[in-house]
């Protein structure tokens, strides 16, 4: 049928199918700003466009319904300010405001947010913050915490009112160590901002090869079953079906889906397809068809007979005698102490000092049990991959991944190809948070491309993200702490029972971090400080739940919930100031990381000194920001006039993370000069929205003496960029950044060498050591200079020609921990148990902050995810192992108009093991919010909730217990 759309002010006819959604038509016509994969029922808002001036989700209406209506997409708003000879109108004011405020992280939801802002500002020139929040509330963002998008809306409004709007202030950040630097330490505009505010086709699903097939997967309805019979004859006969693959069609290659370095520090227990299924949502068969609808239809035509097996849905029963064996396959490959006969994916036994002696010396011993839930990364762009054979018959895997090089290495044997026959391209990634540190779906599309010879796209639906993806490991944790009456910790013990689900991906390493990063923070005081007594034991067991995996924080949030809640109880029991108690026992600069002598993810441990600890300053700044002194012992503050059922409370948690994995994580960088004195920076590091492309470019620019816009960053493509382990373990700024600095120094050295020659003449002779690079010039001590463009022309065209370039890589013997103090202010309804989080303040010691606005965005977004972990996010299963959460309604993530006030603060430290003094900031925001909120609930109403999330009923029950006792 033919319809007329007034699309971006142009009325044009479009030939459509009656059943096509507006989103399908827009994307087919090249309007990629409306994103297609975030959800299927309009919960996420990433596909929003304006219909007659109002934001609507284009996936929820038919294109035919829009016939005769006015549609605005992001493509209408503006364009890059430099289009060569053609004059450009430049970006729209709202796009500028989003760039200037740092409102863009992964950028997947950015076009929708900008359009929502436009809808508001078209009729409300002077909006309040609440109006700005409401306006963008139809668009879910998992990255930003909405702080900067709201700032952007208000800033755009000011622009549009014609007000003078000043330079955007840097977020509060360190100044002591960045004096004299031109770009490091400055809130530079993100290098990817322009494409993202324009909604350019940057993401995996935005480009589709001709002849592409669509993949779907048949999933198990059983938690544990053997496939006794499978017949795909009827499905294969369906017109439009190109291939159906079952376990009978594929080579049986065991592997791990964890995207980690070799050797994978965990068991190999997974097959692309198997004759056994181990959770509801496990794979049974793959289909490739001409359309998604045909593929879905074909799934129903695959005949499968199952023999249901007893399932384990309670991790405490996994290792009981007689428990069903989840992994009985002979191909299973153990790692370290894994033992499939006991359903044990990994085991950790770490003893530091003499723990039993420490307990014997304690005046009091405190013991308690805690629980943390299974939660989802919920990146708005789902897992998505497109595979195809290129003209050289090499398999190209274009995928939204955090680990392109691991994808290539791990999949090669699974696909029966050599590494050199595979190319992995990582386009823009729409959020990952650890969920894409998994080789989760690439093999599906790759097998189908091998089977059909055709390009194949496979994109998870939101439901598949919940049923068949990865999640944070749920754990049951027992704490035992010995304390002197003066608050000295004499011994500290944690036991974690961790549920890895059906497969052991990340089982050892995630749970290792649970103890490694949390228990290391508190070493005790006095003599105990010199020789702390710490024990961390863990059993990571298989169950028939969906597998857990990597999620931002990587096991550490699971550790801080029990540890910090436990310390709060001890401080209260001993009548100690909770902050002083923590600080008395916390690790200090110059001390040994206690776990570095005992454990290193299954590798040989190597002692490591912690050089910088900014915790005291974090506490000081955080206390001042939240008003700790005025509130904590003020009974009047806790009461709200006219609201006798409400109580205010304040809580704190201190946390530390890691920065990369020492002696393991490695990043590479390559830099070359261009004719105009600009540089190509090629990195294998993977920007998921974190801003790593930007901070790496800033470091290169600083060394090379150019503005950041002269650095053209490409990340990452296994054919073009150097190796990098990928984006995880908070390693990119530190590890890949050091590689960039090394590569840039090599390039800078060559430039100085040539510049010295160019500048030298009879009377003046210079050595390369005297030449400085700044302001796009090579400058001699007497002020004489040549431009980098002149150096580039000289080297590329004129004299002793060479390509000035440098390649370097870096791995580190150190893993310098960032530290943070997380504060929370809450209001508790003591009659219903409902907790409202009013405010979160986080003061972070992340070393030198390369880009304060970007880093602040990381902290704000991390706090928002941690807030969900604290109060509302939880994945539950019934007694058949079927999930409760399948969409972003039941799995609630915070919207813009329900957020508490967020504040990120940075403190000054200079980490001596990095050329620019950096540590990490990306993961630590996940660690402290939940315990800080739990502690605030205790401060408000005197109840301890030991299971998170802190739901109304859990608080209510704790209140009931107090009343009854």
């Amino acid at each position: 049928m033919k319809i007329f759309l007034i699309l971006n002010d142009e009325c044009k006819p479009y030939e459509i199918e009656a059943g096509e959604t507006l989103l399908q038509v827009l994307r087919r016509e090249g309007y990629f700003g409306a994103k297609s994969g975030g959800c299927q029922h309009g919960e996420c808002g990433a596909c929003a466009v304006l219909l007659d001036g109002q934001p609507i989700n284009s996936c929820t209406i038919l294109a035919a319904q829009a016939d005769g209506h006015r549609i605005e997409t992001i493509e209408k708003l503006g364009e890059h300010p430099d289009h060569g000879w053609k004059q450009s109108a430049g970006l729209h004011t709202i796009q500028d405001a989003f760039i200037e405020t740092g409102a863009i992280q992964c950028g997947y939801c950015t076009p929708a947010m900008i359009l929502a802002a436009k809808a508001l500002l078209d009729h409300e020139p002077n909006p309040t913050e609440d109006q700005a929040r409401d306006a963008i509330s139809g668009v879910l963002c998992r990255c930003t915490g909405y702080v900067k998008p709201v700032e952007a809306v208000l800033r755009a409004a000011a622009y549009l009112r014609g007000e003078a709007v000043g330079q955007k202030d840097d977020a509060p950040g360190p100044v002591n160590f960045t004096n004299g630097w031109s770009t490091v330490g400055k809130s530079e505009v993100k290098v990817d901002a322009y494409k993202l505010v324009q909604g350019k086709p940057a993401f995996t699903a935005d480009i589709e090869p001709r002849g592409m097939l669509h993949a779907k997967v048949l999933y198990s309805p059983y938690a544990h079953a053997r496939i006794t019979h499978i017949d795909a004859t009827r499905a294969r006969a369906l017109p439009g079906v190109a291939a159906v693959l079952t376990w009978q069609d594929l080579p049986r290659v065991v592997f791990s889906t964890a995207g980690q370095s070799d050797p994978i520090p965990g068991p190999l227990d997974t097959f692309s397809l198997d004759h056994k299924v181990r959770f509801v949502g496990d794979r049974v068969a793959f289909v490739a068809a001409e359309t998604l609808e045909i593929a879905q239809q074909a799934l129903k035509l695959i005949d499968v007979e199952y023999e249901p097996l007893p399932a384990i849905l309670d991790s405490s029963k996994s290792m009981l005698p007689g428990a069903p064996t989840i992994h009985d396959e002979p191909e299973f490959v153990n790692f370290a102490d894994s033992n499939p006969a006991r359903n044990l994916a990994a085991e950790i036994r770490i003893d530091i000092g003499n723990v039993d002696k420490g307990f014997a010396e304690a005046d009091q011993i405190f013991e308690a049990e805690y629980e943390v839930p299974k939660v989802q990364q919920a990146h708005i762009e789902p897992h998505v991959v497109i595979t195809y054979w290129d003209e050289d018959d090499r398999l190209v895997i274009r995928t939204s991944t955090q680990v392109p090089f691991h994808v290539r290495r791990v999949l090669a044997p699974v696909l029966g190809l050599e590494v050199k026959r595979i190319r992995v391209i990582k386009p823009r990634v729409g959020g990952g948070f650890g969920g894409k540190q998994e080789i989760l779906i690439e093999d599906v599309a790759a097998h189908l491309t091998i089977a059909t010879g055709r390009p194949v796209k496979f994109e998870y639906s939101r439901e598949e993200e919940f049923t068949s993806s990865r999640s944070r490991h749920p754990m049951r944790i027992r704490m035992k702490t010995g304390v002197k009456n003066d608050g000295t910790i004499t011994a500290n013990e944690m036991y974690a029972l961790s549920d890895t689900g059906a497969y052991g991906c990340h089982a050892l390493t995630v749970t290792g971090n649970t103890g490694h990063k949390s228990m290391a923070l508190y070493v005790g005081d006095g003599d105990y400080r010199k020789s702390p007594n710490i024990r961390f034991y863990a059993d990571i067991v298989y169950t028939n739940h969906p597998p857990a995996g990597a999620y931002r924080g990587y096991g550490v949030p699971q550790g801080y919930w029990p540890l910090d809640r436990h310390l709060e109880k001890i401080a209260n029991a001993l009548g100690l100031d909770p902050i002083e108690f923590r600080m008395k026992n916390a690790i200090r600069p110059g001390e040994l990381h206690p776990f570095s002598t005992a454990w290193s993810e299954g590798r040989e441990p190597r002692p490591e000194i912690i050089h910088t600890v900014g915790l005291e300053e974090c506490v000081r700044k955080g206390k001042a920001a939240i008003g700790w002194e005025e509130k904590i012992n003020n009974p009047d503050w806790k009461l709200l006039p006219g609201k006798p059922h409400l109580r205010k409370g304040l809580g704190v948690a201190l946390v530390m993370q890691g920065t990369a994995i020492p002696y393991l994580d490695m990043g590479g960088a390559s830099i070359k000069i261009n004719d105009d004195g600009s540089f190509n920076l090629l990195v294998g590091a993977t920007d998921l929205g974190t801003g790593s492309d930007t901070v790496l470019a800033q470091m290169a620019a600083e060394v090379l003496g150019v503005p950041i816009e002269d650095i053209i960053t490409l990340s990452s493509d296994t054919d073009l960029t150097p190796f990098d382990v990928g984006a995880y373990a908070s390693s990119t700024t530190y590890i890949s950044g050091a590689a960039v600095v090394k590569a840039a120094e090599k390039v800078a050295d060559r430039i100085r060498e040539r510049a010295a020659k160019l500048l030298s003449n009879g009377s003046s002779q210079y050595s390369r050591h005297e030449i400085k690079l700044a302001a796009r010039k090579a400058i001699a001590p007497d002020g004489k200079s040549v431009t980098l463009k002149e150096v580039a022309y000289n080297s590329l065209h004129h004299e002793d020609q060479e390509q000035i370039m440098g390649t370097a890589s870096y791995y580190s013997p150190s893993s310098p921990p960032p530290f943070a103090a997380q504060f929370a202010e809450v209001t508790v309804d003591i009659e219903t148990g409902q907790v409202t989080v009013d405010r979160l303040v986080m003061a972070v010691d992340g070393g030198v902050i390369v880009n304060p606005i970007t880093a602040a965005g990381q902290v704000e977004g991390g706090m928002m995810q941690a807030l969900g972990y604290a109060v509302c996010e939880e994945m539950m299963y019934d007694d058949q192992g079927r999930p409760r959460e399948k969409n972003l309604v039941d799995y609630h993530i915070f919207r813009a108009n329900e957020m508490p006030q967020l504040e990120a603060i940075f403190v000054d430290t200079y980490e001596p093991t990095h050329p620019f003094g950096v540590k990490a900031v990306a993961e630590i925001p996940m660690d402290g919010a939940a315990p800080a909120i739990g502690n605030a609930v205790f401060h408000a109403c005197g109840v301890n909730v030991d299971i998170n999330p802190i739901t109304p009923e859990r608080v209510w029950r704790a209140l009931q217990e107090i009343q009854q006792s």
């Binding site: 049928m1 199918e17 009656a18 059943g19 959604t21 029922h41 309009g42 919960e43 808002g45 929003a48 219909l51 109002q54 934001p55 609507i56 989700n57 929820t60 209406i61 038919l62 035919a64 319904q65 016939d67 929502a116 409401d134 306006a135 509330s137 139809g138 668009v139 879910l140 609808e293 059922h645 309804d829 009659e831 219903t832 148990g833 409902q834 409202t836 969900g868 109060v871 509302c872 539950m876 019934d878 409760r884 309604v889 039941d890 609630h892 915070f894 919207r895 108009n897 329900e898 999330p949 739901t951 109304p952 009923e953 209510w956 029950r957």
Partner: protein
């Protein structure tokens, strides 16, 4: 699969198209979520131009057309008389969906955890369906909603003489409630509807003795145990919320 799209200019035209072959025709009143359930090829009749977007107030009644979107309701006079409606709708659906989901769509898809449907039950809303012209109370209609799956809601009528109070408990301010209570009061008469469970909200009480309403609400919630909350919790907290209304 949708084979044909119609956009009639009136309900009469819509009815003509419908009656030609009612077996293969579905009405469309906003979003397409109701259409997704169909497995067989069908035609759609889009009612966006059929005159169902009015909100009128006459004889102490609001008449809200079934194709009125939730965001239009938020901006209408009905939200001035019942200001809590704005917050209730915000809790129910994100803004972008409020702009496309109509009252008809909403009520067909509402479940027990839907705040607006709970509020409308407390306000003694009545619905009239199309095709047809029968008007029934929303509370009664919810009980047999599936029988009308091929229909749409032509209009919702509600009195402007109530005082509406609404309260809910959830994991976050805008999470779907695990318990919500709406109370419409008028001349010492109380209508108490409770939501947060099951496939539809429940009108638990109508009368002039608030304490009886509380007891009845507790009795109903005493059976409401699911994966979101226990019956014990709901039973205790529903009394708290209603008592707060009384204060």
């Amino acid at each position: 699969m949708i084979t044909q799209y119609h956009r009639p200019k009136s309900l009469e035209q819509a009815l003509d198209i419908y009656q030609r072959n009612p077996e293969v025709v579905r009405f469309l009143t906003g979003g397409i979520s109701r259409l997704r359930e169909s497995q067989i090829p069908f035609e759609v009749i889009d009612l966006q131009d059929s005159g169902l977007k009015d909100i009128r107030r006459e004889n102490h009644q609001f008449q809200v057309g079934g194709c009125t979107t939730l965001s239009e309701i938020k901006k209408a006079e009905v939200a001035k008389i019942y200001p809590d409606i704005v917050r209730i709708i915000d809790q129910d659906l994100p803004l972008n969906n409020q702009n496309s989901v109509t009252l008809s769509d909403y009520l067909f898809e509402a479940d027990g955890r839907s705040p607006l449907s709970t509020a409308l039950c407390a306000l003694d809303a009545k619905v009239s369906l199309f095709p047809g012209d029968e008007s029934v109370s929303l509370v009664e209609w919810f009980k047999n909603r599936e029988a009308d799956a091929t229909c749409i809601i032509r209009e919702v009528a509600l009195s402007d003489e109530y005082v509406l109070q609404f309260s809910s408990v959830g994991r976050s301010p805008l999470d779907r409630p695990i318990l919500c209570v709406a109370m419409g009061s008028y001349s010492n008469q109380w209508r108490i509807a409770v939501g947060g469970y099951g496939i539809q909200p429940v009108l638990v009480y109508q009368g002039d003795r608030l304490q009886d309403g509380i007891l009845r609400a507790q009795e109903v919630c005493g059976t409401w145990k699911d994966e979101w909350a226990s019956s014990e919790y709901r039973q205790a907290v529903v009394a708290v919320l209603i008592n707060r209304f009384a204060k």
